[in-house]
Amino acid sequence: MTMIQDSTQVTVLRDRCAGCEECLVRCPVEAISLDEATWTVSVDNEVCIACHQCERTCPFSAIVVEGAPKVAPRTESHEELPAQVVGSLSEVRLGFLSEEELVAEASRCLDCPDPTCMRGCPTHNNIPTFIALARELDFNGARRVLLETSAMPEVCSRVCDSAIQCEGSCSLALAGDKPVAVHEIERYIADHAHLELVRPEEAGLTVACVGSGPASIGAAEVFARGGAKVTIFEKAQVSGGLLRFGIPEFTLPGHIVDGVFDRLERLGVEVVNGYDVPISSLAELKSQFDLVVVGAGATAPIPAPAKGKDSVSFTEANDFLEEAQKALESGSFDSARGPQLLVLGAGNTAMDVARLSRRLGGTAVCVDWMDRRFSVVRPDELQDAVSEGVEVLFGVTVSEVMPADDGRITCTLVKTVQKEATSRPTVTAQVERVITVDKVVQALGFRLTDEVRSEFPSLPVAKSMPVLADRHWTASGIFAGVDNEFSRNTKVGELALKRDRARQAAGFPMNADGVYVAGDALVGPSTVVEAMAHGRRVATAVLGQRGRLAASSLGRVRAPRVLVVYESLGGTTKGWALAVAEGLANFTDTVVALPVDQVEAIMLASYDLVIFATWVDGMVVAKQSPGSAMLELIDSLVPHTQVLAGVMCTFQFDPGSTLKIMEEHLAAKDIRTIASVAISHREKGSGPAAFMREIGEGAWPALDANGVLKHLLERSSTDASEVVGPREELLEALVKRISERKAVEGADFRLTEVQRQATELQSTLDGLRRLRKIPS
């Protein structure tokens, strides 16, 4: 393996280079400079390490990089298959065994300014930062970085399919090389750091998590750190859900899972095992808690189609995994009479079933009806399984089963044909072989239970690619990677964005009661890290909306995060929308103003107040209505978004029923409109002051007079009509502040800045009083 090459040649197509510097701001090694005379970039071949990120990110495809990345060879981690498979519980993958190995691998990280690995990670771990700290052997610091995005790095680093996630999205992988071993570094940090957790002050919010798998763990950890009182209900006698029984000990040792729950308990999370919460009785649970998060997984197995299956009994993979692990841990199995299995499937679960069977002294044949080239099997798992004596057949399926002697099952295996990755395999009549086994284990995947589907009919949330990919993701170059054997030629960027859109969807409650769903229960079968990221998303969305101090009342205590969406034909609506946005921006930290075609329903989970501004479509004085794109957006909103709305339109002659139509469509989505205004094109005045006031009264929290005061003190003019917020509280706060200022004035006889401000505040106060009496 030779990775270091000196023959890097970067060509800038100067005819096409526009000097936009997209490459320059993203180059990890500062090899790119700008020639100010021609306003085009140049690349220093000596400095360039050929990560190809500039090539991937150039909007005009004006850079060509030749040569492989000039980085050291990847430090491979250690793996130890048991010499004696039967009865073995020892962990197979061992990761890095020394700090030298860790530092060597960490040194390969380019610390990219726009790290695509972070996008590839389903929970967006700050990978370059924790790697940089690990390189300095600051494991506690690195662990604190991980804490911001992950509740269980020690688990994720053991079970994630990193080849198509963070590592597949590494700049080096996108350039066709072997990526930085992110997972091994993460694992080393997680295993070697000592994390001091401080139990936060209780804030009164109570949260119930149904299920104790990754989704609940993710939600519980963030909620608990936010001061909420979290209770996890697990129907099994041991907590951990899928982590405990779905993943064998040799991949994820039980003590690792114990560690995760230890941490949660230190944060004050209560775990109640052996307590089943039927999905149909969530309302009852909700009556006892402020919020309920359902992380019950997708546990309904996909049945295998086979002739004669009614005459025999198939074993579910999860049942086998649980029984086998228990038998292994207790040693209560007869290795001389281990189970002989036919495992249907070749995914993670199928491999785990087969390998556990071998550990029990049995045999296993896995059949995957997909062609080897298109199979979802992880190469490393396949290799390990085969090494341990598992037989895996691709392009084969079971066509018929029938009872045999002694309760055994005779299975006829036939060949299938699959020509393309996207095509469904065709089952042929050609018999591969006929085998007789003790059990047929179904490991073809899972789906939502009927119980979940009936309670939440809109589930599962589809992981879909938008028509136009997120522009930041496109700009990062994550979609432009070359085929890479390491990442199994997967389109890692598309995969990551689809995942992320589902993650964002987790921020919406599923019903008006405030019940959230996360993990496999939300999207169908996914991965451990995705489920955890969903849980975290639920918690951050809730805490973000309300603020931790609001826990007791569930009311907002922060100024709202505002999204102004506008559909403008000629710019008038846009102008007013931006004016309103600018006005509101004086009183809150987050105001985003976007044209309607750049807004998607899933974005609303990150805002508390949405102003919908539209032009008036129609026949000038008849059949007026909001713009069609605006109505489409409103109609696509997820119910129970819990945002507040303001609606505005600009009109030439008559707005007709435009505002009413918008309000009705919003109401159909349970969104309350707190203010509305129609602005004439001839309006030249100071703007919709009354509208702003109503917005302030309706959306700003009662306690947030500070933002208003800050605004008034920082500005040279104090126009009371611009002040947003509840008048009573503002008046009170202003009186208090003025009296403070006067006190300062009394201590200093010179005319000070403070004095001037106090005078201005006084005039504003008068203005506010006037405004209350005479609304304009």
Binding site: D15, V25, W39, F60, H124, N126, H472, A475, D500, V591
Partner: protein
């Protein structure tokens, strides 16, 4: 509503993943000082203009009438009357359109490109829509390789020379047989569609359209500065570059131009896509004083400079080709090479190249006479990027030649316009079956021959004055620091431009005498 400065409103959808991009390099104060335009020059600040530019159908509506006309040209060239004088295809193409195109490029810039039916038609196919924002293009979407792209506008000059040769050979624009005009137009459409289906964006328009270099150079005289940034800081801070990559509302710039660094109108096709696509509303449509895009750019492009002298070579050839010495030479070469008729490819190529290189040679002599040795800079690179002492002088001087060259082309179209454009009315009547060949309009002349010569010389005088102005401005900023004896150098540079314009004006007198 009082606006707070700087704005605290976020106008690009926030990124869910935090990034730590390096800070972009800001231009120095002087870098775009000459080409940046004041806010009052932004016509998009008027709501009506803004509304028109935002509408996705705008360019479609500009293209549609021309599309109808040129498909009529294609069909009527084959099916209409044989007399080119009153055939709609030939009459509208050569008596009106070609002249109008020059007016548009000299006065506005790439106005024609915004309504061109050839690129427009091909783009409809490539985008699979008339005007909607689609996300997936039809075709292979190949990038033009650097080995080709580095020649920039020179490629377009090559196709223009080829097309002109074909036109001269078949006497298409004479105009000769109408169906030749139809075949030529059809050929351009087919070529455009083919290129649009093979290459990405408007590779055809940018590099291969026969008129691209001509419009890109002569259009620099025009008053449309094109779409530019309102605030460069906003463009530099933008991390999505929807104007280049394409966003939800607009396609990425089909011409490979970024409003954030545009300093000339030569590669802005006025297609409005960046205006529509900018999430920050930071793009405006700017107007400028005539000649600004000749004088103001700091980046002088070698491909444009060589295009200018080669196009100058072509237009002078088209003046020389009616003189007796040329006719004798052409006949002689045809006899010895067996070439059937005018123009012989050897003299056609050699004369054009000779005039082009002679012009470059005159600039080089000028450099040798005046340039200070210490100011000479040499830097290797591809055709488009290398720096040599020759280029230090050749590039700015060739830009200053644009008005003379441009007006020369314009003047050359005038006889057909003044002598034949009234025939367009009977040509239109013929479409509806009216027998109009005896109408007096068919032979009605707007101006006498002497009148036309006077107008042509007037146009050349205008071109000369414009070149003098451009030379003075360019000299003061770019050439003066390079030369000794600045007064003499300045006068000589002006003298060269005057001489070129005078030769051209004189050739018009010779041409009419020869006719």
């Amino acid at each position: 509503m009082t606006k707070v400065e700087p704005s605290k409103v976020i106008k690009v959808a926030p990124d869910v993943v935090s990034v730590r991009l390096r800070k972009p390099i800001r231009p120095g104060e002087l870098r775009f000082k000459d080409s940046d335009l004041p806010a009052k020059n932004n016509v998009a600040r008027f709501p009506l203009v803004s509304r028109i530019l935002h509408a996705r159908s705008t360019q479609f509506l500009l293209i549609l009438p021309n599309q109808i006309i040129f498909w009529m040209v294609i069909f009527l060239g084959f099916l209409g009357v044989v007399d080119p004088q009153i055939n709609f295809a030939t009459a509208i193409t050569w008596y009106l359109w070609f002249c109008l195109v020059f007016v548009m490029m000299a006065v506005i810039g790439r106005a024609w490109c915004s309504m061109c039916p050839f690129g427009g038609f091909a783009e409809w196919i490539q985008r699979k829509t008339f005007f909607k924002r689609t996300q997936k293009a039809l075709g292979l979407g190949i990038k033009l390789p650097e080995s080709w792209a580095q020649w920039g506008f020179v490629l377009s000059v090559g196709t223009f020379l080829l097309l002109t040769f074909i036109e001269e050979f078949f006497n298409i624009a004479g105009p000769g047989t109408p169906h030749y005009t139809s075949l030529m137009v059809l050929g351009i459409v087919v070529t455009a569609v083919t290129f649009f289906l093979v290459f990405e964006r408007r590779t055809f328009c940018r590099y291969f359209c026969p008129l691209s270099a001509l419009i890109g150079s002569v259009g620099s005289m025009g008053t449309a500065a094109g779409f530019r940034t309102n605030d460069r800081e906003v463009c530099q801070a933008c991390t999505t570059k929807d104007c280049m990559r394409g966003g939800s509302s607009g396609f990425g710039c089909p011409w490979y131009t970024w409003p954030g660094s545009a300093e000339s109108n030569s590669a802005c096709g006025l297609c409005t896509e960046c205006y529509k696509g900018c999430p920050s509303g930071n793009v405006g449509l700017y107007v400028q004083k005539p000649l600004t895009s000749i004088i103001a750019p700091h980046r002088r492009r070698a491909d444009l400079a060589w295009s200018i002298v080669l196009l100058w070579g072509l237009v002078v050839f088209q003046q020389v080709n009616v003189t007796t010495p040329y006719v004798s030479l052409d006949n002689y070469l045809n006899r010895i090479t067996g070439w059937p008729n005018y123009p012989n490819p050897i003299d056609y190529t050699v004369i054009i190249l000779a005039i082009g290189f002679l012009t470059a040679g005159i600039f080089e002599l000028y450099r040798r006479a005046f340039m200070v040795k210490e100011m000479e800079v040499t830097a290797p690179g591809s055709f488009i990027e290398k720096v040599t002492p020759f280029r230090q002088m050749f590039l700015p001087l060739s830009y200053a030649l644009i008005p003379v060259m441009g007006m020369d082309y314009f003047a050359r179209q005038l006889p057909k316009f003044f002598q034949h454009v009234p025939a367009l009315i009977p040509a239109i009547a013929e479409i509806f079956g009216v027998n109009a060949k005896n109408w007096s309009l068919v032979s009605y002349r707007l101006l006498s021959v002497q009148g036309i010569i006077n107008v042509q010389d007037g146009v050349m005088a205008l071109g000369m004055l414009a070149s003098i102005y451009a030379t003075i401005k360019i000299f003061d900023r770019e050439i003066a620091p390079l030369v000794h004896n600045r007064v003499a150098a300045k006068v000589t540079a002006i003298g060269i431009m005057v001489a070129f314009a005078a030769i051209s004006g004189w050739l018009y007198v010779i041409m009419q005498a020869a006719n």
